[in-house]
Symmetry: D2
Subunit: 285 residues, 4 copies
Amino acid sequence: MPTFELGPNQYGKAETRLVRVERGPAGDRITDLNVSVALRGDLAASHLTGDNAGVLPTDTQKNTVYAFAREFGIDGIEAFAERLAEHFVASQPSIHEARVSIQQYPWQDVDGAHTFRRDGSEVRTATVHHGHYGTQTVSGVTGLVLLKTTDSEFHGFVQDRYTTLPETRDRILATSVDATWRAVQGRPDPAAARAALVEAFADTYSLALQQTLFAMGSRVLQRCPEVLEVRLSLPNRHHFLVDLAPFGLDNPNEVYFAADRPYGLIEGVVRRDGVAIPEEVAWTF
Amino acid sequence: MPTFELGPNQYGKAETRLVRVERGPAGDRITDLNVSVALRGDLAASHLTGDNAGVLPTDTQKNTVYAFAREFGIDGIEAFAERLAEHFVASQPSIHEARVSIQQYPWQDVDGAHTFRRDGSEVRTATVHHGHYGTQTVSGVTGLVLLKTTDSEFHGFVQDRYTTLPETRDRILATSVDATWRAVQGRPDPAAARAALVEAFADTYSLALQQTLFAMGSRVLQRCPEVLEVRLSLPNRHHFLVDLAPFGLDNPNEVYFAADRPYGLIEGVVRRDGVAIPEEVAWTF
Amino acid sequence: MPTFELGPNQYGKAETRLVRVERGPAGDRITDLNVSVALRGDLAASHLTGDNAGVLPTDTQKNTVYAFAREFGIDGIEAFAERLAEHFVASQPSIHEARVSIQQYPWQDVDGAHTFRRDGSEVRTATVHHGHYGTQTVSGVTGLVLLKTTDSEFHGFVQDRYTTLPETRDRILATSVDATWRAVQGRPDPAAARAALVEAFADTYSLALQQTLFAMGSRVLQRCPEVLEVRLSLPNRHHFLVDLAPFGLDNPNEVYFAADRPYGLIEGVVRRDGVAIPEEVAWTF
Amino acid sequence: MPTFELGPNQYGKAETRLVRVERGPAGDRITDLNVSVALRGDLAASHLTGDNAGVLPTDTQKNTVYAFAREFGIDGIEAFAERLAEHFVASQPSIHEARVSIQQYPWQDVDGAHTFRRDGSEVRTATVHHGHYGTQTVSGVTGLVLLKTTDSEFHGFVQDRYTTLPETRDRILATSVDATWRAVQGRPDPAAARAALVEAFADTYSLALQQTLFAMGSRVLQRCPEVLEVRLSLPNRHHFLVDLAPFGLDNPNEVYFAADRPYGLIEGVVRRDGVAIPEEVAWTF
C-alpha cells in the first residue's frame, strides 16, 4: 500500500475583527483591524492521527488577539503583529513559525470627540513572519485608486498577427495600487511611503504603466531611507474613449467607458541597488 | 385554455459606466457615473408576440447616455437624469414613463491638475421618475459609514420569553447611512444634506437608533428648506464588548468584536409637518 | 420652530443565519436559512424621545428565530416565515405588522447519511407580510442562471439617432432568473414553479427577452393552479460574438465575450386573467 | 544620487471572459472560461524608459485567447492554457516565461439541445507555468462547499492562559474546498480527483480538520496515480450550537448559528512518498 507524506502546512484563525477605542479627555481614538494568524510547527500528529496535543486552537488565537489589544494596546499594526507572532512561537513548544497579517480600516474624526466616519479609500496592511529567520515585517497599502486624465501614452509595442490595438499618444491611466514595502532595520513611515506612491503616479509622464510602476517604487525608496524593496501590483483599469461619430458628435478625450474586465495587470519589484536583502518569506498555498 | 395577462413591466439598460473629463487650463474635472435606465409604455406586443416595433433597444439607451454627456455635459446627476428621462418619453411614442438612476463615485483632486484619487467613503445617488405625474427627483447618499464611541444607550425595551439582551447605558453605535431626500421645488444642496446627516448623528445623545434616525432626518429638513421628506435606512452594525475576564483582564469599553451578521436594520421616513407631498413613485419588482 | 413628523417606519433583525439538522436513522437532513425580520407598529416614542417601551429588541427577534426552529421545526420556509410573522404581531401589543424574508441555500446529499455538498446554483426565497390585511406569502427563486445557444433573435426594434445595434437573427440569450409567485389560497409547489421557468426558457423561440419573460410567467401559471401572479426580473447578460476577421478567422457563432456591465434588465408581471388578486404588499425604502 | 534596480516583474491581461459554443446535431456544448495571462522576460526597458519594443500588449494577449479558441478549440483547460503559454514564449523573443490561469464555470445541460443551467457549486481551475523549467501544470477545484453533520470531534488540544474553547465530541464540520494537484507526467482525471476529495471528507471520522485534510489529499493520490502532490486550503466554517436554555428549550445538536468571521483556515500539502517532484513554480506578488 502506498504511503503519503505531509508537506508544508499551516493553520490559524483568519479575519478576527477587532475594534479598539482609546478614550481620552481630548477625544477618542479608534483602531479598526482585521487580523489573520497562521502557525507552523510540529503539527504532523494532528494531520496523521488527529492527535491535537500540539495544536493551539484557532479559537485561542482569536482570544489572544483580543487580550493583547487590552494588555499591550496597539502601537501600530506592525508592532502589534510582531508581538502576536513572537508570542505564539515563544509560548508554544510545538509552534516554530507564525505569520500575522493585519488590515487596518481608516476612520476620520468628525467632531473632535466621539464620532468617526469610515474612510473607504484605502486599507493599510502589515504582514509579519516570525521564525528561525527572525522577524520579517512587510508594510503596505491596498485599494488606493488613482487616475490621470492625461500625460499617459502607449506606443512602440510589439506587433504580431493578433495585434489590433492602435497606438495612443494620450489616454486615461487608472489603477488600484496594491503596494508593500520592506525594511530590515527601522520602521518606515507609512504615510511617507503612501505619499510617495501618489506623488510619483501624478508627476510621472507615462509611456507605459510599467514605467509608472518603476517610478512609484523608486520614489518610495527615495523618501523612505529604511525601505529596501517595494512590490507593486497595478491593475490597468481601462477607460475607452466612446466613438460618438455615429451620432454626429466628436469626442475630444471627454467621454469614456470604464470597463470592468478584462484588465491589464502590471506587477514588479523595485529594489535599492547593491544592498543585500534577505529573500521575502512567503508561505505558498 | 386559460389566458394570462401582462401586468406592470419595464425594461432598460442597467449600469452604464460613464466617466467624463472636463479639461481646463486650471486643471481637469472628472465625473464618474453608473447610470441605469428603465422604461415603461406600450410594450405588450414585445411580450406577447415578440413584435419589437415599440422597443427602443437597451443598447440605444446606453448610446444615448454617452452622447448626452458630450452634447449637454453633466451639470449634476439630478439634472442629467432628468434630461435623459424626459428625452426617452418625449422622443418615443411608445414610451410613457422613464426612470433613470445614477450613482456617482467621488474623486479627490491630488495635484491641482490631472491626477485624482478615488474617495471610497460614500456614493451620491439620484433617481428620477418621469411620466404622466411629471418629474419626480430623489437625491441621496449611500455607504456613509459612521460610528460613535459613546453617548448611546439602549434600555427600557420589551421583555418577553425570548429576551436575553441586557440593557446598556453605554455602547458603540455604528451604521452605514443610506439616505434619500425629496423636494417638489428647487434643488437641495446635497453637501448640506449630507453634512446635516453627519452632524445629527454626532450630536444626538442616542437612546435608540430610531431616535438617531429621526434626528438625522429632522436635521436635513432644518438645513435644506426645499426638502420635504427624508428616507433613512440604517443598519445597526453591532460592536460587542469582548469578555476578557477569563484572561484575568477587565475591559473598560475598550476592546470590541465587530460583527458581520445578523445586524439590526432601522428604516423610516421623516417629513415636513403639514405639507402636502405627492406619494413617492416606486416601480415595484 | 418647524416641526417634523415620522412617516412609515420599520425595524428588525436582518440576516440571521440558521442551520437546522434533523437527525434520523435513514440519514440527516439540513435546512440552511438566512432570516430577516422587519416590524411595524406603535414605534413613534422610540423615534421621538428614545422611549423603547414598545420596542421588541432585534436581538430578541434573532433569539425567537432560533427558538422557533427548535420548538416547531421548519416545515418549509413559507410556513416558518408565517409562524414567525404571526407570532410577533400576536405577542406584542405594539407590533401591528411583520415582514419575514427567508433565503434558503440548497444542499445535496453526498453519502445518504451525514455529508452534504452546497448546491450553489440558486436560492429559494419566501417573503411573508402579516398585518391587518391578513397574511400575504410570496415565494420565489433567485440566482437561477440560464443560457440558450440559439433560438433567439432581436430585430424590428425602434431606430433613432442613437441606434447602432444591428439586428440579429441568432444570438446567445442568457439571464439570471429572479422570480417570485403569489397565491391567495393553497401552497404552490416551488419545484413545479421552478421547473416551469426553466422549461419555458428552453422551449420558447425568442424574438425578445420580453417574450421569453411572458412565456416563463405563463408557464408557471399553467403548471401551478394556485399561483395567481408571477413577477420576473431578468437581466440580459450579453454575450458578444468576437470579431476574429483581423486574425484571418471566421467566427460562425462560436467564440463570445461574456460582458459584465452594462446589461439589459427586463422586468414584468404575468397574471391569471380575470381573477381578482389583492395588491402585493411592499414596504418601500 | 541613489539608484534603484528592477526586481522580478510580470504583466498580462487578467480575466478575459470567453464562452465557446460547439454546435452539433446532437446538441451544443459550451465552455465558459475566465483566462488570465502573465508574462516575464526582457521587460526592463519598458520600466526604466518607457520603451515598449519588447512589450506584447495585454490587448493582444486577449485577442490571442479568443483567436486560439477558434483556431484550436478547447480540449480541456489544461491543454488550452499550455498552448497559450507556449505560444507567448515561442513567438516573442522578449518573453521568456508565461503563466496562464483559467477558471472554468460549469453548466448543466437542460434540454439535451441548446439550453444550459449554470451550476454554481464549484469552479474548475488550471494554472500553467512555462519557461526554462519546461511546462508545469497545476489543476484544481475551488468553491466546493462540504458539510458533515456529525463524525467530527475536537479535543486534546493545547490549553494556555487564553484558552476558553470547550472540548467537543460531536460538532458540525464545514468547509469550502480549494484544492490543487500536480502531476509531472500524464493528465489526471479532474472528476476522479474531485470525487476523491468529496469521498474522503465524507468517510473520514474527523478528530481535527487537519486530519480530514490529510485524508483528502491522500485519497486523491490513491485514486489518481499520475498525481504527485495535492495542496489544500480549507476554511473551517464554524457552526455554533445555539444555547436555547434561556428559553426553556434543550438543543440536542439541532439548531446552529452559521458564523461568517472569524474562521479557521487549515492549509497543507500531501505528497507521494519518496518521489522526487520539482518545486512548484510560484510568482510571488
